[in-house]
């Protein structure tokens, strides 16, 4: 299955990159305006037209896409107009930091969601369940922005315990492990917490449903300890939707990362996505989308594989 899926990634990538070019071309944003920034407000029309030619955005959509594609295949990803830098450099500098943040946050969300979900499902309607469920819906209603502010206020201002932004202390130039680790905590926490509700509620739902089924009755009758019944039986059959979520929440993770990276001045690639999108920076946008596509496809493949392992009744193909 993995092999076939890798093959089918090619048409998806083609479609996605073309889609991005097309959407960007149709979007109301003007790359020239974005490039010029405030200076554009005083520039003359002739000036802007010249800029349009220089940036190459006057050419037809398909031609631009084709050029991008052919040169990307030879390893040249083009130059980012907003970053004034080769796209390859932009990505090389940033993607690692984003991956680190997203991976930490995601792992935390999945683990915490599972643990809390099982605990809540154990006694649905109990105090723990009520509290955490209400919290989960509240979190889903609270933009990551608010969470970030709250976290900064509490952990940095109130407790003074954690740095509130950046990759390292603002005044320090060297990137050390300890520095990055302590700066990672808050953004990862906020991003993780913002992803938590889905995992928590799906695990809760799945486990609670499984607890009412015959297999759990059977497991209980055998004299298994409550913990085993919960983890080995109820969770094992109730976590299937959650496994799907692992793949399908990747786009949301990216969207969340985008906000969190901005608030915490985290020099990752997600923050560049908004900029690339609103300023219609074709090469950067396309490259970022390819990255995102990779992440999404990998996530979905992973969750399909996990699902297939977790539920032998499912015959996935393709």
């Amino acid at each position: 299955m993995a092999g076939r899926r890798t093959l089918s990634a090619a048409p998806v990538l083609l479609a996605v990159t073309f889609g991005v070019f097309a959407l960007a071309a149709l979007s109301p944003f003007d790359p020239v305006k974005a490039y010029a920034g405030t200076a554009g407000l005083t520039a003359s029309q002739a000036e802007l037209d010249q800029l349009r030619i220089n940036l190459g955005v006057d050419r037809p959509l398909v031609a631009r896409w084709w050029d991008w594609l052919t040169s990307a295949l030879t390893g040249d990803l083009g130059t980012s107009a907003v970053m004034r830098q080769p796209v390859a450099d932009v990505i090389a500098e940033r993607v690692g930091w984003s991956a680190l943040l997203a991976a930490c946050a995601f792992t935390a969300a999945v683990l915490a969601g599972t643990v809390l979900g099982v605990l809540a499902a154990r006694r649905t309607g109990g105090p723990l369940d009520r509290t955490v469920s209400a919290l989960a819906y509240t979190l889903e209603a609270a933009p990551a922005f608010w969470l970030a502010l709250l976290a900064i206020w509490f952990f940095s201002v109130r407790l003074g315990a954690l740095p509130s932004g950046g990759l390292t202390d603002a005044g320090s130039d060297t990137v050390t492990f300890a520095q990055v680790a302590s700066h990672l905590v808050l953004p990862a926490l906020v991003l993780g917490v913002s992803q938590l509700p889905w995992f928590f509620l799906y695990v809760r739902q799945g486990v609670a449903d499984a607890l009412a089924e015959d297999p759990v009755r059977g497991a209980r009758a055998r004299g298994l300890a409550e913990r085993r019944v919960l983890l080995g039986h109820a969770l094992r059959s109730g976590m299937l939707p959650m496994l799907t979520l692992i793949g399908s929440r990747v786009p949301e993770l990216i969207t969340g990362a985008l906000l969190v990276e901005t608030v915490f001045s985290w020099p990752g690639v997600a923050a560049a996505t908004v900029q690339a999108a609103t300023s219609v920076d074709f090469p950067l946008l396309a490259a970022l989308t390819v990255l995102a596509t990779g992440a999404v496809l990998a996530g979905n493949l992973l969750s399909d594989l996990l699902y297939g392992l977790a539920d032998p009744r499912v015959g996935f193909d393709g």
Binding site: P28, F29, D30, K33, Y35, A36, G37, T38, A39, G40, L41, T42, A43, S44, Q45, E47, L48, Q50, L51, N54, L55, T79, V82, M83, R84, Q85, P86, V90, E93, R94, F145, A148, L149, I152, W153, S156, V157, R158, G160, P163, S164, G165, G166, L167, D169, A170, G171, D173, E261, T262, V263, S265, W266, P267, G268, A271, A272
Partner: protein
Amino acid sequence: SAPAGGAGGAAGADSVVVAAATEPDSLSPLLGYGKDGNSKIFDGLLTRDADMKLKPALAQALPEVSADGRTYSFTLRRGVKFSDGAPFSAKDVVFTYRTILAAGTNNPSKTELDAIETVEAKGEDTVVFTLKYPYAPFAERTVLPIAPEHIAGKQDVNSGDFTTHPVGTGPYVLTGWSKGEKLSFKANPHHWGGEPAVKKFTMAVIKDDDVRATRLRSGELDGAILPPNLAEGFAKDTARRTYAAKTFDYRTVTLPTHHEVTGDLAVRRALDIAVDRTAMVDKLLDGAGKPAFGPVPTDSPWFAAGTERRHDLDRARRILDDAGWKAGADGIRTKDGVRASFPLWYTSGDKIRQDHALAFASDAKKAGIEVRTEAGTWEVIEPRMKTEAVLAGGGSPADPDFDQYLLLTSSHGGDGFNNMAWYDDPAVDAALAEGRRSADPAVRKAAYDTVQRRLADNPGYVFLTHIDHLYVVNDKWDGLGTQVEPHDHGLGAGPWWNVETWKPKQK
């Protein structure tokens, strides 16, 4: 209620960490970085002092201007070196200006150098600019930073490494730029003006106002720009000082002459006095600003005294009544079947403009004119600017010509974002031409006075406020102050415009 130790700062007194809301797109002067001076990494031929007076920098002295006002000669300072050790010379100046003007260079502010016809080096240390037409404020443009030809000349201007790893003659050297996070500088020990006392300077990039305020409070930052309501929170903090920079940064409502309501002179005059500018300054800006009656702020020497307009709702109503605008059942006036109603656009995501637009609409309603606020991106607004009102902003302190010429001359009507209202007044056109041609300060002053008076009688725009920029900085250094700031305030604005001359406070 700042916690103890909040003003601790990031490190000792020779290190400064400040936060800005925006980040330069590029650090290459060739693409527009630092064009208004104070670029830290670079120097211009000239620079400005605290009073916005020009003074020599890479040039030895102010330029010699020919009698016809079309030739400017600069003699360069000797012995200046770029931070990589290479000497600075006239060819770098020529390279910089020529590259900017080249068609292939993606520098969106080329227009500002439109007057230049040629720029030539005369020997090692003289540069001569020849202009297409006499242009009095030209010297103000030469604060533009000079790039090294031996580095920038070898690369692609638009995307070369130089755009992110610049080398200049300035007081600081860039040590790191982590986009979206921060820019770090260290003092340039070989700077021609002497080595700065602040050895390390970091500019953190924090887009969100609230986050900036919170991080300032947490003690990670030494200073930050803040909106008035957040700066207020630091007012009682003894370890920090708030600096309010005077600005030319105005907010105005364009009244397009091509709209059937705003094109009516009576409506324009009524609106101009129906708005309560003082209330806006007090409430929207928490007092950090001044009422605006034109692009020139009331405390500028260029301001034409006596052009202030009082808030006078009754008179506004009378003007409308006299002009035949009669109030209807819902309180909105009509004239010849035309309802006194027009849309007002502001750029989405900009809270200050949003508030100004709402306040303007509410004032207008009291006079019987309905203003429908709408939000959009510039892309949405631009095609509508000819007939629909926009809440615009601008302001450039160096010379009155910078703002007013593009904003008010009829020939720029509809040219990009210049003269959005298609303002067309022959007297103003003539005065503006005079102002940029003449080198005589008295003549220029008279010309700009004329412009401001005409604006009072025939308002094409309703100027609302000039906005002070507020900065909160740890009180650890001497030598802080602010310049008069433009609308677009980047790295070079704020109390740290002259961080190179700061000295740690003696305890």
